[in-house]
């Protein structure tokens, strides 16, 4: 398939099915430099599948076209040097220390202790970096996973960072710290992240794609896409804008 695009990262007609279930249906998406693109939508709408496909991890029939920096078929090595991925449930070798896990991120680009230190600082884990993963809390492990990805693309310009639900189990203070790191990354590339919370998406993303049933139903500038009408339709439940924050409508308790 011919792909003519200037986008940093483009997925053309991406499809994925799991047995009889179509998880992703001919989805096309482009991400430009400087963007923080939030992918939102109800559970099971295909957010994770889209992110994995963009990371080049989807396999099976009809995966569709893919382009990274206008290179149609980037090699595994090239891809690993410029694009990092944080899965929804990172599995981090329990015996390794946090610092060792972040060092693993340098597999493609080569060992760099400065990159490792910067990544640990960006997620606020520098002081606890010598502890083994098994004693860290769930939120701390999630931050280590983000730091590993940051270290992986440290020094790459342009770069792409893909994160699947990176804020699950992370407290608000740490969310804002990681958002800072994502914004710094977007200055030399693009960040794509899936989020279940549209309010959070609106607060941190420049652009947004709303998904429903394996398709992107709306895509554009975050402030135009993430509005109650679109989200209500996608989630099948009233979403209100409360004091500027998008929130599900929940009847007050008696």
């Amino acid at each position: 398939m011919e792909i003519l695009t200037t986008a940093l990262l483009a997925g053309m007609r991406l499809s994925q099915r799991y047995g009889a279930t179509v998880a992703l249906h001919e989805t096309t998406i482009e991400v430009e430099r400087g963007q923080i693109l939030a992918v939102v939508g109800p559970n099971g709408c295909g957010k994770s599948t889209l992110l994995r496909a963009l990371a080049g991890l989807a396999h099976g029939e009809g995966a569709g076209g893919f382009s990274l920096f206008s290179s149609k078929v980037p090699s595994r090595e090239h891809r690993a040097k410029v694009m990092a991925f944080v899965p929804q449930r990172p599995d981090l070798a329990a015996d390794f220390t946090a610092r060792e896990v972040v060092q693993l991120g340098r597999f493609a680009r080569g060992a760099d202790e400065y990159a490792v230190g910067d990544a640990l600082r960006a997620v606020g884990l520098r002081v606890r970096s010598e502890l083994p993963m098994r004693v860290l809390s769930g939120g701390e492990r999630q931050r280590v996973a983000v730091a590993r990805a940051l270290a992986q693309i440290d020094g790459a310009d342009p770069c792409v960072l893909l994160l699947d639900e990176p804020f699950s189990g992370i407290d608000p203070g740490e969310v804002s710290r990681i958002v800072g790191a994502l914004r710094a990354t977007a200055e030399r590339g693009a960040v794509v992240l899936s989020l279940h919370d549209p309010g959070l998406a609106r607060a941190i993303a420049t652009h947004a794609a709303v998904m429903s049933g394996g398709r992107i139903v709306s895509h554009g500038v975050a402030s135009e896409v993430l509005v109650p009408e679109t989200l209500t339709k996608a989630y099948g439940h009233p979403i209100d804008q409360v004091a500027g924050w998008l929130a599900p409508r929940i009847e007050p308790s008696r």
Binding site: R52, A55, G56, L57, R76, E77, R79, A80, K81, M83, A84, F85, V86, P87, R89, P90, D91, L92, A93, A94, D95, F96, E100, V101, L104, G105, F107, A108, R134, A145, R148, Q152
Partner: protein, 330 residues
């Protein structure tokens, strides 16, 4: 790179075992069966040195095989013996022995065929056991170990069945060989095959230590980090299978060295493969040399006790302790 002090401990263990094995012998004064320590000379010296070398090489092969399987299945309970791979290799060797009897193969070059049969049996059982334990996200430890135990029982029964098809002389060999026995007088060729397996296995794993470390993350993270997981797992599969096969063809299914060796290495040297690969080989060697020294002390030179009995008596409880600690849930 800074050498971790854990290496000193492993090497000291190996040296202590080797020294003990060299000095241990039956008492010279015919005052009943008693153990004595004496400095060997002449033929005894060369016999015992060969025994130490043989045990150390097989131990290293088993340690490396266990490490390859543990990294392949991302599970610290994996080892050739626990997963039934040794039994599969044993079945392969028994098949070759029966075929050799039926077609009256000559003794020369039989070891080569045994190695081939053992590797084929090991690969077959490894393929079955990893298929059974496979789930959407990696391998489920419970299913893996259970299917390994069942598979081991099936292959052992198959070996016992084959054993009845050969004459009694050969049968006695097979029986004690199935318990795990280091050959008393290994030929130079056999020793070379085991040495090549040890060095080759070490080289294959040592070249991939970084990728092995990264493969301890989730599959998606490892792949997006640039690791060719498919190729790496294929390499681990064949390394683990071939090494287990060679060890079994040489010495029978010696249990628990492949499990405990990498575990000691992990304890003393940490989780990084740059240390684990040499550490597992050294720890495996140390364990088997020590076990052989203990066997020597118990059986007082009569040569009837298989070393596999010692490793099972020491390693079995260790395995249970690992289960209790919940190591499989890591």
């Amino acid at each position: 790179m800074k050498r971790p002090p854990g290496f000193v401990i492993v090497v000291a263990l190996l040296a202590a075992g080797a020294l003990l094995r060299m000095l241990l012998g039956p008492a010279a004064d015919d005052s009943g069966l008693r153990v004595s320590l004496s400095i060997p000379t002449g033929e005894v010296l060369s016999l015992r040195a060969t025994a130490v070398l043989s045990a150390a090489l097989v131990g290293a092969v088993l340690g490396l095989s266990g490490l390859a399987l543990q990294s392949l299945l991302r599970n610290p309970l994996a080892s050739p013996f626990v997963l039934g791979i040794s039994s599969g290799a044993g079945f392969g060797v028994a098949c070759v022995l029966v075929l050799g009897y039926l077609f009256a193969w000559s003794g020369a070059g039989l070891f080569g065929r045994e190695v081939f049969g053992a590797v084929a049996g090991a690969a077959l059982s490894l393929a079955i056991v990893s298929r059974f334990g496979r789930q959407t996200d990696g391998h489920d430890p419970t299913t893996l170990v259970l299917s390994g135990v069942i598979l081991g029982a099936i292959f052992s029964a198959g070996t016992a069945l084959l054993e009845h098809m050969v004459p009694f002389g050969l049968r006695g060999d097979l029986l004690s060989w199935m318990a795990g026995r280091l050959p008393e007088l290994p030929s130079r060729g056999e020793l070379i095959v085991v040495a090549v397996a040890a060095v080759g296995g070490f080289a294959v794993l040592a070249r991939r230590t970084q990728a092995l470390d990264v493969s301890m993350l989730s599959d998606d993270e490892a792949r997006s980090s640039g690791v060719n997981l498919g190729a790496l797992r294929g390499t681990l599969f064949w390394t683990g299978g071939i090494l287990a096969g060679v060890a079994v063809a040489y010495a029978g299914p010696i249990g628990f060295v492949g499990l405990v060796g990498p575990h000691i290495a992990r304890r003393l040297l940490g989780p990084r493969h740059a240390a684990l690969v040499p550490g597992s080989a050294l720890a495996g060697a140390a364990l088997l040399v020590l076990a052989d020294a203990v066997r020597q002390a118990i059986d007082l030179g009569s040569g009837r006790l298989p070393v596999g009995v010692v490793t099972a008596l020491a390693g079995g409880p260790f395995f249970l302790w690992l289960l209790r600690r919940g190591a499989w849930r890591s």
